[in-house]
Subunit: 491 residues, 2 copies
């Protein structure tokens, strides 16, 4: 397997597209904008799901499942939501096909036209709040803490694997609360959970913050988000959590009887992360040799490659390796022993580098004689020779090192790519030449935000949480500002 991978420096975007396909994560399908997530990619997504699901359940959430289809009229019930979501979407208009009368194949049966069109869910607030109306009568029915793992569809004209696809997989949490405070706490909590997941499992450092009004989710009163920085200096929104106020409760008439017997509207949140995280994972850690996977999400944490001539040597190696495989597995480490005789070791080395396997052990005749393994780590591409009796311990500690190291490397990169500027001239220069996050004063108006976006393509990624207040002047209008916000070009 020659990698033939375009380098990041040459063309970052091309590097990404090639890498996703060549490393067997995903590929385009015959359906415009819809991807096939291949087994290797899906195995990573499953690990993400398992960990997130655990964190959701630990915080009291349960899973449920709601319909794929949303009646068109539901979308219209929440005014700003329909503006945001009813536009580019897949519309089901008929429920039957028939054989064409001229024998040319199958055609839509015009007699089977739906009275009301159905929209393939772009997000499920409307269908879920229509359901919650039946579930909520009294304060005793609250809170509802429900999550759904599902596919959603948003028609996209320009698509890229994982980053922007017409269909994608995600989870969407939808909670209902008796008080505003509780809903706000929930929305914040989920942002923190997303951040913990991104940093401790994906090894992707993120900045927590809130969105400006114009960048908010359609129907939200506050959008919390986590923002990551890719190696090309562009930001990527890795998760959002929305405080929806009483907007959906009002749109779908969801009221509850309080302890005191009053009727009040329910408070809502929704929050989600998607297969987009796969894109963030690739772009944060990947290098010119391929993927670099965090050990906690790697489907294969350790690969063992025998180097041999003839079956006798292979047998001798296998005799040594097979007990090691068992021992590593008993410690919860996922190991692949690749003794395929159809491929040369060099081919295999390339393949597992491309696929980002954190640790590679190689063992040949000389290692057998010396009682050693050659240990290669994917993140640093360094090798060392380790005694067989120390190998289990070494592998376990290396996995921890690698997990930590790739996070720190990404964190260093981000630290170097947050630039404070005070003039619009500097701003434009940094955005254009250096990239990354730019921390600047802004007057708080959508007009200025729009102007900056139009002129530089940079958007306000977030108003960072817990940032210090600092009196300043908007770099564009000179109007007063109380806090710097983070701008960047973004995916």
């Amino acid at each position: 397997m020659g990698k033939n991978l375009t380098s990041r420096a040459e063309d970052y975007s091309k590097w990404y597209n090639e890498l996703v396909v060549k490393s067997d994560l995903a590929e385009n399908s015959g359906v415009r904008g819809c991807m096939v997530i291949k087994p290797y990619g899906y195995a990573i997504w499953e690990k993400m799901q398992a960990q997130l699901d655990k964190m959701f359940k630990e915080t009291g959430h349960e899973n449920a499942y709601f319909p794929l289809f949303i009646p068109k009229s539901y979308l219209s019930k929440e005014a700003s939501h329909v503006e945001g979501f009813a536009k580019e979407c897949a519309v089901v208009t008929h429920y039957r096909l028939k054989n064409a009368e001229d024998g040319s194949g199958i055609v839509v049966d015009e007699d089977a036209k739906l009275e009301e069109e159905l929209i393939v869910r772009p997000t499920s607030e409307t269908i879920i709040w229509d359901t919650y109306r039946r579930w909520v009568q009294s304060y005793r029915d609250l809170p509802i803490l429900v999550n759904q793992w599902a596919n959603v569809v948003r028609w996209e004209m320009r698509t890229r694997l994982f980053l922007r696809t017409a269909e994608f997989l995600w989870q969407e949490g939808h909670t209902a609360h008796a008080t505003k405070e509780e809903a706000l706490e929930e929305a914040e909590q989920m942002m923190h959970i997303y951040a913990e997941f991104a940093e401790n499992y994906m090894g992707v450092p993120v900045i927590k913050g809130t969105k400006t009004e114009s960048e908010r989710f359609a129907g939200a009163e506050e959008t919390y988000c986590i923002e990551a920085l890719m190696q090309d200096g562009k930001a990527l929104q890795a998760g959002t959590s929305h405080f929806l106020g009483q907007n959906f409760a009002k749109a779908f008439d969801v009221k509850f009887a309080t302890k005191e017997g009053n009727q009040e509207y329910v408070w809502a949140t929704s929050w989600g992360v998607s297969t987009r995280l796969m894109g963030a994972l690739v772009m944060t850690h990947g290098d010119d040799n391929g993927l670099v996977l965090p050990p906690k999400l790697a489907p294969i944490q350790v690969v063992i490659v025998p180097i041999y001539k003839g079956l006798d040597q292979l047998d001798a190696i296998s005799e040594k390796v097979e007990p090691l495989v068992k021992e590593l597995r008993s410690k919860g480490i996922s190991v692949k022993y690749d003794k395929r005789d159809t491929h040369k070791p060099g081919f295999k080395f390339n393949e597992y580098e491309l696929k980002g396997v954190p640790i590679r052990l190689a063992v040949g005749q000389r290692d057998l004689e010396n009682g050693t393994y050659e240990v290669a780590r994917r993140d640093t591409l360094t090798k060392e020779t380790v005694k067989a009796e120390e190998i289990v311990e070494k592998v376990a500690s290396l996995l921890e090192d690698i997990q930590e190291n790739i996070y720190n490397k990404a964190l260093d990169f981000r630290k170097k790519h947050i630039t404070e500027v005070d003039t619009y001239e500097d701003f434009k220069k940094v955005i254009e030449e250096k990239g990354g996050f730019v921390s600047a004063h802004w007057d708080g108006t959508a007009e200025t935000e729009d102007k900056i976006k139009e002129e530089t393509k940079a958007t306000i990624r977030c108003i960072p949480l817990g940032a210090q207040k600092e009196e300043g002047k908007c770099m564009v209008t000179g109007k007063p500002s109380e806090q710097r916000v983070l701008f960047a070009k973004a995916y």
Copy 2:
């Protein structure tokens, strides 16, 4: 919570519909034919998924994900498949909505008509084989052993929760092999895995067999299935596994180079089980008091209900119960301690009976004094008093007993409901009056099968695997037959 559950004897169908809703498994949504799977129902489905997924992976399968949409033309490529699946389905014709010019709301944007309609997948053979063409070049690329967990849509006019819904959740395995033998083995293997799951986890005895030609999956050369018997004497197909021959390989031009360098078409299987299994679970074990869940799939295996007057008594009880909860959990038993003060013990007893929780422990002031628990098992509705020091062991062994008992009960029922008949007159009588499986001789023709179906509504559920050969005469035509087959009315 008064149950107000219709009894099975009174109206089995109504009993089922009410039970599914009242026990919080699922409910109808505002979208015709699409259900909402509620958290309690989804928790059971998650346990089913986890176990099946484990069994699939243990037999070498990996998960992947393929597009929700199938271009209309794909469906036409396999002739019998299109006949079976292209008829009642959800058709996406447009990709945009817009504001109506008269301000009346949002309407379909006629300028955004798709060149080719997309079908919401009713099953994924076509899109997957279109993908496999890109994955397979040589025998080295085979076998492909892939499974997908997904939602599918088949437009149904009359729907029932879990049993027949427009959208349902399922898994679909799609494998590709170099030889016919290997594909046949795979298809058989998956039938056996389904049977093992049904019997050992769901506690549902099943008969393994093959379908007659007219009952086969559209595009299959052989369909293996497992058939269960419900308490009303109707059969329910609980899982199918198809040997697809080279039909899809030919339709999508998927060839591989053999070791010898020839080009051959790939052999295929597909196999699936769906949320229909939830219906089978309810109908196999449920009684007039509600669900009866097998311990291996119960979200709550043990519920503990305190019986107290005043908070002092509750505190004393909790002091004893909380360490028990921990101990049971440490043994992997899922426990709920329901000390809600908003509901009376009798209400709680009813609720957990309705929800099929296998074991209920009650503890009151007298138990506290005596150092005992009242233990009630859901399957037999019997109670006994157990000493506190023996309770952990008792619970563990009871869970095993219950799992075994409900299986045996269902097996007894089925044994009593397989009737051998030799005349068509007897056949009609048994089908009409007693129900269950009827074992009879049939001449092997679709004509006779059709006639029987028209006249009695009974279909051939399967040609049982491993049944003894027995010379006989078709009960309808008198033509020779070599083996009895199983008829039943079916869901």
